[in-house]
């Protein structure tokens, strides 16, 4: 257990340092656009982390996770539309909105299990998607252009690509640190215990539902933060952020990277978006290649990329 934790910290340190070193390297080699690409990767890494928290540690397969991202993004977009640009207000607002949505939908979804949980989270995700599509005051189907980035204490700091990049990196580090603390805490042990054996956890005195709901809300809030960052990154929000394909992408990232390790989620986000980029360079039908690849990974490399960092495969 402690060995796993140490490994997690080492991998986190290496990855975060690599991210930190990227902008100057990209600049030096004349690929400065990579900084923009990598900030998007880190934003999805935050979202994947939040999903791993409930999917990997809690076996709650949320198929509507993109809704939290979308709600976070819309919170920033709609605030901007009404003249509120202050990130120190809009970011917490984005997290609170996503958290509230998680609380309400989770309270219902978590009464079901297995396939039903997947279906009901998908349904709530689609509900959010169609609600966003019908927001005609905020662009409806076409989405909403945000004319600039959030301010931080009234300063336009984030307009600069580098500052934005390092701001995202700071958010990723913070979320990662927070998630790893949660995982190792009393609460984290209860969540993992419920994944292992729900009936047993109830019999020794835990209310599985309450703990799972809190985990779901925490996860939703972190995804909401990723959404707020994403809105700033693209300076645009649209219902497409909430589509079920996006939720599927997040699940794939977590599975690809290796569930229940946190660093696997980050690696998965990096690998997924890099693969998407590379394969899309070959053909626009890149999913035709990506699909079978994914099947091979699930069949022959259970545990995902993270397994390569562990001594042995995960049994069971």
């Amino acid at each position: 257990m402690s060995e796993n934790l140490t490994r997690g910290w080492v991998i986190a340190a290496v990855l975060l340092l690599a991210f930190a070193a990227l902008p100057p390297l990209a600049e030096a080699t004349g690929h400065s656009y990579l900084t923009v690409v990598a900030s998007r990767v880190m934003i999805y890494a935050i979202a994947a982390l939040s999903l791993d928290l409930i999917l990997g540690y809690g076996a709650m397969v949320s198929f509507g996770h993109a809704a939290f991202i979308g709600i976070g993004a819309y919170a920033v977009g709609i605030s901007a539309e009404h003249g509120l640009w202050e990130g120190t207000l809009t970011f917490p607002l984005a997290m609170a909105a996503a958290g509230l949505f998680a609380l309400v939908t989770g309270a219902i979804s978590l009464r079901t299990r297995g396939v039903y949980f997947i279906m009901i989270t998908l349904a709530f995700g689609q509900m959010a998607y169609y609600t966003a599509s019908s927001l005609s005051a905020y662009g409806g189907d076409d989405g909403l252009t945000i004319w600039g980035r959030s301010e931080l204490f009234a300063s336009p700091l984030l307009e600069n690509e580098w500052s934005f990049y390092f701001f995202v990196l700071a958010c990723l580090s913070l979320c990662w640190w927070f998630a790893s603390r949660v995982v190792g805490s009393r609460f984290g042990r209860v969540i993992a215990g419920v994944r292992e054996n729900r009936a047993r956890m109830a019999a020794i005195g835990f209310d599985p539902y309450r703990h799972q709901l809190v985990a779901y809300v925490i996860s939703g809030m972190i995804a909401g933060l990723a959404g707020a960052l994403l809105a700033n990154h693209s300076e645009f929000v649209s219902p497409a952020y909430m589509s079920w394909q996006r939720s599927g992408d997040l699940i794939i990232m977590v599975v690809l990277g290796g569930m229940g390790t946190l660093y696997g989620a980050v690696l998965g986000a990096v690998a997924y978006l890099a693969l998407e980029d590379v394969l899309a360079g070959f053909t626009e039908h890149w999913r035709v290649i990506f699909g079978p690849l994914l099947i091979l990974i699930v069949l022959y490399a259970r545990g995902g990329i993270a397994r390569a960092f562990r001594g042995e495969g995960r049994d069971g």
Binding site: M1, R189, A192, R200
Partner: protein, 251 residues
């Protein structure tokens, strides 16, 4: 005679036309080992599941230490001092043996909405878990993944998990199911060691263990208690003998 710690009053449960618990009254006195025996299909597990809260009775009352718990959820009963093991091994296979017990201790040492402090550093939970592992003789297996334990060891672990919740009443649903002769002997010894410290309701098929351990035996047949008394009286009871027709040599 001490007051009963656990009392069942007129408990009834049917599945369609099949009555599995038929007006059962049962009083388990403090500090005793009270065994419930009966042929297959007598409704023993359904009875224990109703006490544990996994199954809701149709009628009747379950009173734990003077409080009606009939409609309480499983986890709330645990906090009133009810702990149980399951007929089919029920552990957290991916956790270490120690953590299985530590998490049980955690459930009864303050709330678990603590998100920052590493639980691994909570030595009080660890110590409590080690004490319980010692009671069942599993200390040397503490760091092993619980899923990798032998069947008998898993049964011991279940008892340790129950003990870690600091229970008033232990419900043990066939703790000896599927164990080898040696494992059964060891479990019997473990339970013997608990005598007097805990009130135990034991459902068990292994008659050697039952007659070695029980202070009182209730015999359940087709959901009804047909006899209750000391082991010698039960052994001699003609009605019990006929219920176990063909199994007489066991008694």
């Amino acid at each position: 005679m001490a007051d009963p710690v656990l009392e069942l009053k007129g408990l009834k449960k049917s599945y369609g036309a099949l009555t599995v618990t038929d007006d059962v009254d049962l009083a388990v006195r403090a500090g005793v080992i009270h065994a419930v025996i009966g042929p297959n299909g007598a409704g023993k597990t359904t009875l224990i599941n109703q006490i544990g809260g996994q199954v809701t009775p149709d009628d009747g009352d379950i009173v734990l230490d003077g409080r009606a718990v009939t409609a309480m959820p499983v986890h709330a009963r645990s906090h009133l001092g009810l702990a149980r093991s399951f007929q089919i091994t029920n552990i957290l296979p991916g956790f270490s043996t120690l953590d299985n017990v530590a998490v049980a201790a955690q459930a009864h040492a303050g709330h678990s909405f603590r998100f920052f402090r590493p639980v691994a550093r909570e030595t009080n939970l660890r110590d409590r878990a080690m004490t319980c592992l010692e009671t069942v003789g599993l200390t040397d297996r503490a760091s092993i993944r619980a899923g990798a334990l032998s069947h008998g060891e898993k049964r011991q672990l279940e008892i340790a998990m129950a003990l870690a919740t600091d229970p008033k009443v232990l419900l043990l649903d066939e703790p000896m199911a599927g164990t080898t002769h040696e494992e059964t002997a060891r479990l019997t010894e473990t339970l013997e060691g608990l005598r007097g410290r805990y009130t135990i309701l034991l459902v068990e098929h292994d008659m050697t263990a039952v007659f070695a351990l029980a202070d009182t035996i209730s015999v359940l047949v087709y959901g009804r208690v047909i006899a209750e008394g000391k082991p010698e009286a039960i052994r001699a009871d003609p009605e019990v003998r006929s219920a176990y027709l063909g199994e007489e040599e066991i008694l």
